[in-house]
């Protein structure tokens, strides 16, 4: 235990993971929808900090740009659209709470069992692998070029789908 905390990185991990967990708990345990969304932002930011600790600055920046910068804003807009109930208590029934709690416990147990049960069977990333952004760019546009172009098709489908779904009423009118 002393060994674990002698590493400053581990100490930072405990602090950031704790703050992230607090924010995540705020998302599920809070009462007002707008507060839940803001807690979600804190949780996203905490995950970005964890990526920094994992020495993946690109993932950290992508996390901030996409999750905090875009998806959270989209969620906030969505809450403002529905308006009236944004600041009112969510009021979930006890039956649903019990169902969700059971599902969470079962899934957590399955995850822990899956991780510990398969220890040693998952491939381990070789140490000394070049994880720089240049190497990532070369891999993404070289070896994984086809998958990368497929991702652009996915983005296109998402864009067209969003427009089709949200503009339907206007077309019929």
């Amino acid at each position: 235990m002393i060994d674990f905390f002698s590493q400053p990185t581990n100490l930072w991990f405990v602090v950031i993971a704790f703050l992230t967990l607090i924010a995540s708990l705020g998302v599920v345990a809070g009462e007002k929808v707008m507060h839940l969304a803001l807690n979600l932002g804190g949780s996203f930011a905490g995950v970005a900090a964890l990526f920094v600790l994992l020495q993946s600055p690109f993932l950290a920046i992508a996390q901030v740009l996409i999750y905090v910068g875009a998806i959270l804003v989209m969620i906030l807009f969505g809450l403002m659209l529905t308006g009236a109930h944004a600041t009112e208590p969510t009021g979930v029934e006890t039956g649903k709470k019990v169902t969700v709690a059971t599902a969470v416990i079962v899934l957590t147990a399955l995850t822990i069992w899956g991780v510990y049960g398969s220890a040693g069977r998952w491939p381990v990333v070789p140490s000394g692998l070049d994880t720089s952004l240049t190497a990532l760019g070369q891999a993404l546009y070289g070896h994984w070029g086809v998958a990368f172009e497929a991702a652009s098709t996915l983005l296109l489908a998402a864009l067209v789908g969003a427009i089709v779904v949200s503009r339907r009423e206007d077309d019929e009118a």
């Binding site: 989209m74 403002m80 546009y141 990368f148």
Partner: protein, 123 residues
């Protein structure tokens, strides 16, 4: 990882601390000097001096904001994908350039579709 990595992130932490300290520090400093005499009229949210029709929490945003946010998410992801390309540009040569332009063209089709569907127009 070299110490340089952690030192460069220390600057980011410093920025965060300074940013928060600036906001709270200025407000705290202001509260020391400004007079505090609240009245009902001072507490109303206002726009152009007009009396508000609904409570601030009941205001509903136009659905168009949501469409813009949705499109922003997609083009944001596109930007993030282009970042590694820009960094590795010197080693990717012509093939990488063509790939990036195919990627951009795909999203360009999406943009053209949004344009044609008048999603970008504010009515």
């Amino acid at each position: 990882m070299p110490a340089v990595y952690w030192h460069s992130w220390l600057v980011v932490v410093l920025f965060l601390v300074l940013g928060v300290a600036l906001a709270f520090g200025l407000l705290g400093l202001g509260s020391l000097f400004r007079p505090h005499q609240p009245s009902a009229a001072k507490k109303t949210p206002y726009e152009s001096g007009a009396i508000d029709i609904v409570e601030a929490k009941e205001v509903r945003f136009n659905v168009r904001y949501y469409l813009f946010a949705l499109m922003f998410v997609l083009f944001d992801v596109e930007t993030v994908f282009l970042f590694p390309w820009a960094v590795a540009f010197n080693r990717l040569h012509l093939f990488g350039l063509i790939e990036a332009f195919i990627f951009l063209a795909m999203l360009g089709v999406g943009l053209a579709y949004a344009w044609k569907k008048k999603v970008l127009r504010w009515q």
